[in-house]
Assembly symmetry: C2
Homo-oligomer: 320 residues x 2
């Protein structure tokens, strides 16, 4: 890490950015590292929002200091870009158009698939979150850690571990969080904003999706359909569908969960989750999609009913 | 604690019990303390189940060694009873009928309302869970801690903190859990059994409840009704209703959540939750019920519709 500090010392300006469709780790690690670097480098540090920031993260201190992409029109020579939680450089979105203007890129991430696109790469795939790596960087370099920064790191780690249930959660994760709680962070407020404040749009599309849930093959398959009409009537956005397929999967007996979302009249997106035995990426590949053993998806040109029958047929084949 | 060990040394037999309607902390702390004491006191130690144990805890080692209440028909002189996670002695259920046969009661609990009913009381209301207190007892007395016992303690602590989101979660809680994870516990299996394996009955009654969810007063009130017919059709038990009123409360804008459950034809149970401002125990008290500021309830003799109108009227009064 000392080489990073050396690099930052030599830079005219330091820009930080994280990935589009930002989640808690994207925003939290950005705000945390940005805030601690501002202590040293003051106005040399600029935090950039690659995308709109979900309202639920508005409680973070310094969130209002994030700059729009147009600040990139005036990048000075000898500037460095720090990317956070981006497995690939394309994850920074439209900011990629400005990439050649940077002297160096510092790539800080925990995704095992990271493409090492940086001039300096700090990739720790055993870290639960990029927030955990930022915590390490702060400790190793004796950078400032205060309540605001601890709030941002807790947000990053809590969200990327599903509140410490995902298998990326280690004893180290819990030890870091214990240390963050010692900063008297606003844990209850963070928990409320992140987990206990579901929007009415998300609530209503969830209700619609659950109303249309069907089980097949002795409850081993759970499928629901979300039509454009349902999305319009509830005023829901794509991100409001998060959690539906997992809700179905987490039912006792269900081995495969599936959500079929109508994108256009004859175009649907199919999301698949498997509990244990079945490799859903094999099913996704049949329809030119992809993913992992337990989570995969694809888009096909067909109406909802045809898509449902096709995916059901493939699932049933594999249940036998 | 040394006085406990002294007491146990002097006892003919050591019985352990926890509360009826057992949750993860009840079962986990019982199995953990029982297992570590068996290492020292062998057959002197008897673990008692005060109630049926939910299937989801079957993965715990030693869960099958728990004895039925009838083992209490042969209590020897000079025996001690350890109660775990019981705020009041009545929480041990029918085992209370045998209470006079014990020489001493050791009461280990974290509820602030604990009535100190024991001859020895180890009450730590700042502990997240009774599991956390058992961990301390094990460490202070150099008792055995192994993977099986760590599994049981993790189960206790994880469930009683809602996976580390409730405000009873402290930095100490996270430090203990870090140490438990160092025993290479079966975390993924525990998480699956506890959080990701919702029964079909619970799933179906949840769907029914959500279908009947209604919002009032500009979405500041969310109410649903669960009839006997719905319970029968889904084959659900009372415990399967856990989480429904919280799901309603956790909607953005909702200040009061309410679940009205039909018990008999003209008898209903009303559960209330408040997000912040309103004291729902005041509403419960009007109908001879009780509770806390944020969670309260009552039972009244009326049909579902009348009960709904009555509670709505009281809520609306307070929203103004």
């Amino acid at each position: 890490m000392n080489k990073i500090i050396g690099e930052l010392d030599r830079s005219k300006m330091i820009y930080l950015i994280s990935h589009i469709n930002p989640d808690g780790d994207s925003i939290g690690s950005l705000v945390a590292l940005g805030s601690t670097l501002k202590e040293i480098y003051k106005d040399k540090v600029i935090l950039i929002k690659s995308d709109n920031i979900p309202r639920k993260f508005n409680f973070l201190t310094n969130i209002e200091t994030l700059s729009d992409l147009n600040v990139l029109n005036n990048i000075r020579d000898n500037s460095v870009l720090i990317t956070l939680d981006c497995g690939d450089i394309s994850r920074i979105g439209e900011a990629y158009n400005y990439i050649d203007k940077f002297k160096k890129i510092i790539n800080i991430d925990h995704h095992i698939s990271n493409t090492n696109f940086g001039d300096i790469n700090i990739i720790k795939s055993d870290a639960s979150s990029t927030g955990e790596i930022v915590f390490d960087i702060i400790k190793e370099n004796n950078l400032l850690l205060n309540k605001d920064i601890a709030n941002a790191l807790y947000t990053a780690i809590s969200t990327d571990t599903g509140s410490f249930i995902y298998d990326n959660t280690t004893s180290k994760t819990h030890r870091i969080v214990a240390e963050l709680l010692d900063y008297d962070i606003d844990k209850d407020k963070i928990i409320y904003e992140i987990y206990q404040n579901r929007s009415m749009e998300k609530t209503n599309i969830f209700i619609q999706a659950i109303k249309h849930l069907e089980f097949f093959s002795n409850n081993r398959i759970g499928i629901t359909v979300i039509t454009k009409k349902m999305m319009n009537e509830t005023n829901a956005k794509s991100e409001d569908l998060d959690g539906i397929v997992e809700f179905i999967r987490d039912t006792d007996g269900v081995e495969i969960a599936c959500v079929i979302k109508e994108l256009e009249n004859d175009k649907v997106k199919v999301s698949l989750r498997s509990k244990s035995r079945i490799n859903v990426s094999e099913i996704a590949e049949i329809f030119s999609g992809g993913g992992h053993i337990r989570a995969a998806g694809y888009t096909i040109e067909s109406n909802v009913e045809v898509a449902k029958n096709k995916v059901l047929k493939e699932i049933i084949k594999r249940l036998r």
